[in-house]
Structure formats: C-alpha cells, structure tokens
C-alpha cells in the first residue's frame, strides 16, 4: 500500500506538478485501490465498439413519452 501511494504521488507530481496537499489527500490516494478493484470487476463488460455513444442522444431516446 505504501509503495502504491508513493508511486501514485510521484506520478501526480511528474504528470501534473501537483504535490500532496495534506493527509486526507494522501489517504484518499491510498483509497484509489478500491477504484482499481471496482474497475477490475467491470472488465469484460465492455466490448470493442464500432460507433460512438452519445449520452445526450440517450437522454432523448429514453425520455418521458418517447
């Protein structure tokens, strides 16, 4: 976990020039492992897509009375 946090903080500093602002920030970076696990669970649910998806068109396609 400590390695993950250090590596992530270094990556943020390198790519964005942003330093850890405080302890809650450091703790929430460590919590990103939960985000990774959540995305792992979703693997396989997305296939190669030939056409772009549009959220705005989905709103209209599913609207009240459609």
């Amino acid at each position: 976990m400590e390695d993950f946090s250090k590596a992530t903080e270094a990556m943020i500093a390198t790519w964005h020039g942003v330093q850890p602002p405080n302890d809650p920030g450091r703790r929430l970076v460590a919590d990103l492992v939960h985000t990774i696990r959540a995305f792992e669970k979703l693997r396989g649910t997305i296939q190669f897509e030939d056409e772009p998806a549009s959220f705005e068109s989905a709103l209209l396609a599913t609207k009240e009375g459609a």
Binding site: P24, L28, F55, T62
Partner: protein, 478 residues
Amino acid sequence: MMSSLSNISLADLSLVEAADAVRTGQTTSLELLNACWANLEKANGRLNATIWLDREGAQESARAADAAVRAGGKIGKLHGVPMAHKDMYYQAGKLSTCGSNLRKNFVPTYTATVIERMAAEGAYIYGGLNMAEFAQNPTGHNKTFLDCHNPWNLPYITGGSSSGSGAAVAARMTYAALGSDTGGSIRLPAAACGVTGIKPTQTRVSRYGAMPLSFSCDNVGPLTRTARDCARILGIIAGHDPRDPTSAREPVPDYEAALDGDIRGMRIGLTETYFLDGADAPVIAALEQAAKVLAARGAIITRIKLPLMEAISTYMSIISRVEAATIHAQWMRENSQEYGQHISGRMYPGYAIPAPYYVEALSRRGPLLKAFAQDVFSNVDALINPTIPTCLPTLEETDIDHGPPGTEHAFLAVSANTRPYNYLGLPVISVNCGFDPNGLPIGLQIAGRPFGESRILKIAEAYQRDTDFHTRRPPVLA
C-alpha cells in the same frame, strides 16, 4: 396588508402565494422583504447561511416592484419576490465568492442566464448564500466563510453543497434559492433542511454563468418549500440557451399545470437494492410511510431491484473527481493551502485516475442509461428512495479537516444515494417525509425518466397535499 394575510407571517407564504399576494395587491414586495429580513436577523447569527447581503439594493428593487404594481405595469410570475442564491451564480459587477478564499473578491463581468430569466419575471436578489467551497462537499463545511448550521438542530449538517440555500429556505429567510447539483448538492440540503429541491434532467437548464465543478454532471435547480414553487421556478429557468450549447432544445412543458389531477394508476418503484444499503430504521420507516401515502392516492407501489448499480456507482465516482481536478489544476499547483483540506484532499486523487478509466466512464453513460431505462421504466413510471440513507451526522462527525483518519468515509457516505442519478442524468426531486429521533428532517427522492420533471413534480405535489412536513417551521425560528 389585506386582512386575509394579517394573521400569518408573510415569510411563511410559499413562493407562489407570495408572488400572487404581490400581484393582487394583498401585500407589497417591501413587506415580503421585511418579513424575510426579520427571520434573517433572528436566525442567521446561528445558521451562518449568508455570505453577503445587500439590503439597500433589495429595498430599492422592492419599491420599484411595488410601483410597477400600482402603475399597472408588467407583472411577471415572480414579481416582487425577494430571493438569495448560492453564491456561485454570476451577476455582472457583483461579488460571487463561490464559497472560497481563492475567489473571495471575484466580481464577474456577466450574468447567469438563470438569474436573467428570473429577473425578467420580476424576482430580485438580496444576497449570496453560504455554500461548500467551490460546491465540493455534501455537508456544508466551509473553511473561509465557516460552516453552515442546520435550522432544525444546530450541531448537525445542513447537507451540501448548497448549504445556505437549504438553511435559508427552511428558516423562511427567502422564498426560494438556487442550488447546484453535481452529486446531490440540491437534494442533500433539501433533505437535511426539510425543504423541497429538484435536480432537473441533465441539459434541461442552462449553466451559463454558473460556476463549474464538473461539466458532465453539473445541474442548476431551485430549493423551495413546496413542489409547486419548484414547478414555477423550473418553468422559468428551463429551456435552451444559445450561450450554453449543452442545454437541451426540448420544449419546456407547463410544469405548474401538470400538477393538477391525481396520481391514480401511476406505477412507483420503491427501490430495494443499493439505496437502502446501511439505511437507518427511522429512514426506512419514513420511506415506507411515504409509500403508503402515495398508495392511498391511488399510486401502485412496486418493490423493485435496480440493475447495473455497481457499474453506475463506480463510473460516477470518478467523473466529477477528474473534471474538478482538471478545472482546479492551476490553483492546486500554486495555492492548494487556500482550500479546506477536505476540498484539496478530495481533488488530489483525481490526478491519478487514468484517462482510459475516465473515457470509459463517460462512454458507458449513454448505454447504461438506455439499459437502466429499459429495465426499470418499462415496469414503473418513477422511483422512490431515501435521499440520505442514514440519520443525519453532525458537523463534527464529518469534519475531515479536524477529525481523525477515516472521517472522510462518513463524509462521502452522505451522498451515496444521490450520486447515481447524476451519472444517469435523471430528474430527481427531494421532499421532506418525516423526522429522525434528533428532530432532523428525512428526505424522500422521487426520480423519473429524462425530461420527466412534470411527473415527479406531480407526485411530490400530491404527497405534499396529504402531509404537512413541508409546512413545519424549524426550532431556530421559535
């Protein structure tokens, strides 16, 4: 003042009643302003619901409104109604702090479309309301302007990020207040403060001149005391705006007219999965009782298990974090100490989320909405669930800046039930459906199909016809 209004406080009128009273000459705009101001002077020292006030400017607007009535001039749907809004709606030449130290002196050069549209109907503004810093927390904590307190029980959270909007409407300091909702920021303070708040369909209302937090998920909407009041304001602010190209071109229905009639035969799904995870008994009891009230009106209540919630929750968890981190990158590099710790601390991980995750979350949004709608709305017309699944926590229990490690989890749990609807872009209204053992309001969320605001407003209004939670006055006014 005419005799019909002489026995009640003018500040207790709903927005629609107040506007009608001015229009018909039963009262004046100046009297409405003075009634709101009396409550402000009585309660605001304990609530801290405002950031700036302009009483003289408001008095001038009130006198002009009253003169227009006397002259038989144009009377709009909000004519002579004083208001205050979350301090992130730009007005040219006026302060708009965004609840932050970084923008504490920010004076925009242009005016938000929603402000212009309400002004065109005769509303005027007396102040800017407290809010979470840059609209980024679900509790109402604020490092710069200090925390906003709940009018029902002062040590407890107001909900955020539209904290001052919820507190000021509940305390009868204003007839309505705009909020903004990226992950629940209209519905959470509406629920926690016992008022009514609607997050419209994504793209329904222009965001031009409203401080951005997350371009994909930001919404503008009102907090008021009744569903009818929300209908009036939404009818005014909704609709395409050329200055906000993301706003929908869908026609705007007459939301107030849609409130008439009953809800007999309407199919309402009581959500059993996700939204009741970890829910407290008083909240579940209030939800069940609300379902009975709607059933007594003829609605058909169906218990429903929602699909896809794991994916929806996962994807929603990163979109606003990445977008907020991007918008704030320069300040996060150079001035991160100017933010509250809970603000900069929450944004910081956003820089580590890989672009493919973010793109996946955005690209799945449309397909997931279609799948959700097909599965859910083929069986029910609307959904109900608690706005906040637990009894409200205190400000201290959710204070990341001063609390022990782990406080962030209690803080983030507040918005667990509101965030999924932002990902799906659905319209949702929160109404008061009871009180917890600490005397704090419990919120009921009613969600519908995209652009189905008329239906959820109708359900909310029907519910408020048979209950009186929305009319009760908080102890801070005693």
